[in-house]
Symmetry: C2
Subunit: 334 residues, 2 copies
C-alpha cells in the first residue's frame, strides 16, 4: 500500500471529509499496542505489534474549541502537558487542522501510559496512534487507517526527530509490517504465523533512542549487508510459509546488534538464556534497552522471559516482563 505524505495540514480535503458535528461522540477510550521494531534482522523496515503492553488515550469532546491535555499518568512527569509540545495533542491538532475544524471543535485528552518511556517498545508511537485513532473514531471515522498513517509518521518525527514508520505502522495496522520505502511511504502487511509469541524484557536502564542511533556507523561492509538482506528475505519468506525453522534461521542481526548490544547490560547472557529456553531468536527491541525472545508458542516465550528476568534480578537489575502473541488488530476502542 502506497501512502502519500502531502502537506498534512492543508485544507484541501476539508470538503471531501465533511464532519457532521451532531454525530461526534462525547467521549472515547482507546488502547494502542506497544511494538517491537526491527524484528531482529529488519533494521528500520520491519516491526510487529504486541497485545500487551500499550498506551491508552481517554478523549472528551468539550465546548471550548482547541486541544488540551487534561492529565498524563504513568510518565513520571516526563511528558509535557503543553498541548503544542505534547506529541499526542500536537498530532490531534494537526488532524483537526487537516479536516479544517480546528477552530470549531474542542477536545481534552487523558493519556495513560502503561509502558516506560525510552524502553524501545514504541512508547511514543503507541501514544500517538492511540490519540489519532481516538480523535478519528470520535469524529465518526472520516479517515481510513491508511489515511491516518502519514499523521502517525509525522507524530513520530515530532517525538523522536526521525519520521520512521517501523513502530507506528504496526501500532496502527497491527500484525507484522514491512516499511518497503519512504519515497513514497509504502507499507506492506505481512502474514502473522499464529504460534509466534514475544517474550519482552525491559531492563530498567536508560538508552535514549537518539544515542542508540548515533552509535550506528554510517557505512557498513557490503558483505555484512548481503548477509543481513539474505536474512530479511528469509524472514519474509518464512512468515509466508509459516516455516518456524526458516524464521529462526533468518532472525539474526549481524549489523546493528553488535553495536547496540554494548548499551544493554547482560545482553549476550540473556541471548544464551533465551536460546537455551528454546526461543527461535533473541535480540533488541527497536533501539533498546528492551530485549525480545521470539518463540513458537506462549510457553517457550514465557519461560525465556522469566529466566531472563531472573538472571537480571540475580545481577541486581530491575526489569519489566511482557509476554504476548503478535497483536493482529492494532488499536481498539475500550
Amino acid at each position: 500500500m502506497i501512502y502519500n505524505l502531502p502537506n498534512l495540514c492543508d485544507h484541501k480535503n476539508m470538503n471531501e471529509k465533511k464532519i457532521d458535528f451532531d454525530k461526534i461522540l462525547d467521549q472515547i477510550r482507546v488502547f494502542a499496542p506497544a511494538t517491537v521494531a526491527n524484528m531482529i534482522c529488519g533494521f528500520d523496515i520491519l516491526g510487529f505489534a504486541v497485545d500487551y503492553p500499550g498506551d491508552e488515550v481517554n478523549m472528551y469532546r468539550v465546548a471550548e474549541p482547541g486541544v488540551r491535555i487534561r492529565s498524563i499518568q504513568g510518565d513520571d512527569g516526563r511528558l509535557p502537558l503543553d498541548a503544542d509540545k505534547n506529541t499526542v495533542s500536537a498530532c490531534v491538532k494537526m488532524l483537526l487542522k487537516h479536516l479544517g475544524i480546528e477552530k470549531e471543535l474542542g477536545v481534552e485528552i487523558e493519556l495513560i501510559k502503561h509502558m516506560p518511556i525510552g524502553s524501545g517498545l514504541g512508547s511514543s508511537s503507541a501514544s500517538t496512534v492511540a490519540g489519532l485513532f481516538a480523535i478519528n473514531t470520535l469524529l465518526g471515522n472520516p479517515l481510513s487507517k491508511e489515511e491516518l498513517l502519514p499523521f502517525c509518521v509525522e507524530g513520530e518525527r515530532l517525538a523522536c526527530g526521525h519520521g520512521h514508520a517501523d513502530n507506528v505502522a504496526p501500532a496502527l495496522m497491527g500484525g507484522i509490517t514491512l516499511v518497503r520505502g519512504y519515497e513514497p511511504l509504502d507499507v506492506i502487511a505481512l502474514p502473522v504465523p499464529e504460534e509466534l509469541y514475544a517474550g519482552v524484557v525491559f531492563p530498567k536502564v536508560d538508552v535514549p533512542t537518539r544515542d542508540a542511533r548515533q552509535l550506528i556507523k554510517e557505512k557498513v561492509l557490503l558483505k555484512e549487508a548481503v548477509t543481513q538482506w539474505g536474512n530479511i528475505a528469509g524472514l519474509v519468506a518464512g512468515l509466508y510459509r509459516k516455516d518456524y525453522d526458516l524464521i529462526s534461521r533468518s532472525m539474526q542481526d549481524v549489523l546493528i546488534e553488535p553495536t547496540r548490544a554494548i548499551l544493554i547490560p547482560e545482553f549476550y547472557a540473556m541471548k544464551q538464556i533465551a536460546l537455551d529456553a528454546g526461543a527461535l531468536s533473541f535480540g533488541i527491541s527497536g533501539s533498546g534497552p528492551s530485549v525480545v525472545a521470539i518463540a513458537r508458542g506462549q510457553e517457550i516465550a514465557e519461560q525465556a522471559a522469566a529466566r531472563i528476568q531472573q538472571h537480571l534480578t540475580d545481577c541486581e537489575i530491575d526489569s519489566f516482563k511482557y509476554v504476548s502473541a503478535v497483536n493482529v488488530g492494532g488499536p481498539k476502542v475500550l
Copy 2:
C-alpha cells in the same frame, strides 16, 4: 532447505549410495537453463532461471575409466578441453569420486553452449548444472537435486573463483531462488507469479565477472543498504502475493547498479526504453553486460527487448535477445 557442504570428495557416502553398474545408462542429453542472478535488487542472494537460452551436455558411458571432454561447441575455443581444467568435467569427476566410483566408470562429454561466455547469464552455471544433472541421471539418480547443489556451488567456485549460489541454485532448482545464507548453505524456493516474463538483451561487449565484482566498493552507506533491504523484502512479499505493482516498486537497485552500469553501454537509455514499454523493472543480469526487462506478460517483455535491441543496433552495438517466462523445472533430459 539447508545444505551441508562437507568435504565433497570424501568416500563416506560410498556405501549408502551404492551404484548398480548394470543400470547405468549408455547415453544422456541434458539441457540446463540460463539464469538471471540478483533479480535487480537482490545482489548475491536472488536469482531466477529462464526457459531459454541454456547449455546442453551430451554424456556417453564408455569402457575406459575416467572423465574426458569429447568436444565443445559454441565457446569460440575459449574453454579448456583438458578434463581436469574444464569445470564441467572437473565437477563430474568430483561427483564420481564422492560416490567412490571414479576408478571404475568412464564417461565422455560433449558440451554444447547456446549462450555466450561472460554474458552475465550464468553461462558457467548452466554448463556445470547440465553436467552434474547428466551424470546423476546417467547413474540412476543416486543424489537428489538438493544433494547435487553443493557440487554445483563447488563448480561455480572452480569457474569464477567465488562459490556463489545465486546462479547455480535457480539453474538446478528452476524458478526463483533465495540464497538466504552460506554458513550453512540455505536455499529457499520462492513462488513464481505465472505472468512474470524476462526480456534479456546481451550487448556484445566484454565485462568479465571478476572486473564487475572488483568495481563494487567494500563498504556501503547504511542508509542505502536499508533502502535495498526494504526493496528485497518487498520483492519477496510481492512474489508471495502475486502483487505485480509491489514487485515493480521493489525491483530497484540503489547499491550495485549505479557502479556496474558504467560498464554497460547505453544502460540508462535501455532502462528508459524498457520502462516506457511497460516493463515492471529493468536492470543488470548478474554482473552484466546482459540486461533484463522484467515484465508482466510475454508481450511487454518482447516489446521491451525488441526496442532495446533496436536501440543498440542504432548505436552500432551487436546484441542477442532472449525472451522467456521464468523457468520452473530447472534442467531437463532432452
